[in-house]
């Protein structure tokens, strides 16, 4: 298809930019213009779709190098507008335009960070009734002016969300978005990998894109580096099991235990390359004390452990 003539595109942009404050008369004029020529409608459609997507896909914007000083310090993705998507399909959007118009603009984003040291843990109660348990070595961004949004920069957290259909709770991490539909769920960030496990209710993963619905007992692993989502099942009783020190493996690389040890025991554990990729299944219970846990882990895979003051390591015999 060929592009529309430039003057039509200009006009379409004009209409788009004015939509926010057109009065009754102008809307009539707008409709008449759309009807006048299919090319008008096509041009406007193109502009309107782009604008809608620009409002909903923070990941499209490149991270500006050396963040301009005019911007708020943490600008990763503070959003006041929460769009409710009803499980994909076409029912999707009506709620969206409502929130778009109704949510009062009161107060811009006022992000603040909660950070835990390795081995430390923190319970966070938001004033909407939502409770968040943050594992060690984790960093979570919240917003004073919007209790319905959280960004997990690193580490792991279990969310007990106070559900409000009108204002879904949204967790972001990297380019991933998880939106609750009445829920207890766990989110874990490990480098380019993100794990989401649902214990109660359900969540939408990437509500604006693939809108993968995860119900209780479902888990998703996103590998951002290769761009894949793998779905699996999880025992709901084991979601967020880190809170009692339990780490479950289902054929995953043994090396992943290092992150868990860092968060819970607060020490740095390095695992020899030959072991870290080995698939491992089973459950490990961490006590919070590396001196007890590391030898136990080493024994599980038939390896040796070392401790030199600060660092712990596991290597083959």
């Amino acid at each position: 298809m060929t592009a529309e003539p430039a003057h039509i595109v200009d006009r379409a942009i004009d209409w788009q930019m004015r939509q926010a404050d057109m009065d009754d008369q102008e809307w009539h004029a707008f409709v008449a213009w759309l009807e006048e020529d299919p090319a008008h409608a096509r041009a406007f459609d193109a502009v309107a779709l782009d604008m809608a997507l620009l409002a909903n896909h923070p990941e499209l914007y490149p991270a500006d190098p050396g963040v301009a000083p005019i911007e708020a310090p943490i600008v990763a993705s503070p959003r006041r507008r929460v769009w409710a998507w009803a499980g994909g399909g076409v029912a999707v959007a009506a709620a969206a335009c409502l929130t778009l118009v109704l949510v009062p603009a009161g107060g811009g984003p006022a992000p603040y960070a909660i950070e835990t040291k390795p081995g430390q843990r923190q319970d966070i109660a938001l004033n909407d009734g939502t409770r968040i348990e943050l594992n060690g070595a984790s960093r979570l961004l919240l917003d004073h002016n919007n209790p319905r949004i959280a960004t997990l920069d690193s580490g792991e957290a279990t969310f007990h969300v106070h559900h409000d259909a009108g204002a879904p709770f949204t967790v972001r991490s990297g380019a991933q978005v998880v939106q609750d539909v009445g829920t207890v769920f766990n989110v874990e960030r490990d480098g380019k990998r993100l794990d989401v496990q649902v214990a109660e209710g359900s969540v939408l993963l990437q509500p604006q894109r693939e809108a993968v619905a995860l119900r209780a007992g479902a888990a998703a692993t996103v590998h951002e580096d290769v761009g894949s989502i793998v779905l699996s099942k999880v025992d709901v009783a084991k979601v967020g099991a880190w809170r009692s020190g339990a780490i479950t493996f289902t054929g995953e690389p043994f090396g992943r235990v290092a992150s868990a040890v860092n968060r819970i025991d607060g020490v740095t554990l390095s695992i020899d390359a030959s072991l870290s990729q080995r698939p491992f299944s089973g459950m490990v219970r961490l006590t919070g004390t590396a001196a007890r846990d590391v030898p136990h882990l080493a024994a599980l895979v038939g390896a040796e452990w070392h401790h030199d003051g600060e660092r712990w390591s596991i290597s083959p015999n």
């Binding site: 009065d23 009754d24 096509r42 490149p62 301009a68 994909g88 076409v90 959007a93």
Partner: protein, 171 residues
């Protein structure tokens, strides 16, 4: 008039009626305590946004195969996986257009669209006049359109999505 707007945006009457229906349902569920300043304009705006969202939803359901998702355990019970893939081409083009933009323009656009900052405040933050911001934003939108045309000229492949037959999708 609302219906006319929806017909004009969606390209056919059946979709438009459907959309209008949706809108009434949603209106019904509105908290009544919310006073609306200009009811007519409000409804138009709502219809217009609604139309855009439906158009996006339409491109989603027409999604093609992508390498993006490999759903592993097709085990009996994952009925909830609605894998609607959004029109990734459009997103990719937008991404490209944004990357090609001067930084200031991109910042203005981001504040305006993504963060909902009023134009007046954008002007203050960027040290510009209000009309300067207006022009900058217009140019940004224009560049995006121009970028898409240029990138389409490069690839001869047809961009029409299946299942998008009679709607008024362009290009």
């Amino acid at each position: 008039m609302l219906l006319r707007l929806l017909v004009a945006r969606l390209g056919n009457r059946a979709d438009a009626e459907d959309a209008l229906q949706d809108m009434w349902i949603k209106l019904d569920q509105l908290p009544t305590s919310q006073p609306v300043a200009q009811p007519a304009a409000y409804l138009y705006r709502m219809a217009s946004n609604h139309a855009s969202d439906r158009r996006i939803a339409a491109t989603r359901s027409g999604a093609r195969d992508t390498a993006w998702m490999e759903v592993q355990p097709a085990a009996d019970e994952q009925p909830t996986i609605e894998r609607a893939l959004l029109d990734r081409e459009r997103l990719t083009r937008l991404e490209g257009a944004l990357a090609a933009m001067p930084e200031r323009m991109r910042t203005a656009l981001r504040l305006y669209r993504l963060e909902d900052v009023p134009q007046k405040e954008i002007a203050a933050r960027l040290g510009m006049t209000l009309s300067g911001v207006e022009k900058l934003l217009r140019r940004a939108v224009k560049e995006i359109q121009a970028y898409k045309i240029a990138s389409e000229a490069d690839s001869e492949a047809p961009h029409r999505l299946p299942g998008e037959g009679e709607s008024n999708r362009d290009r």
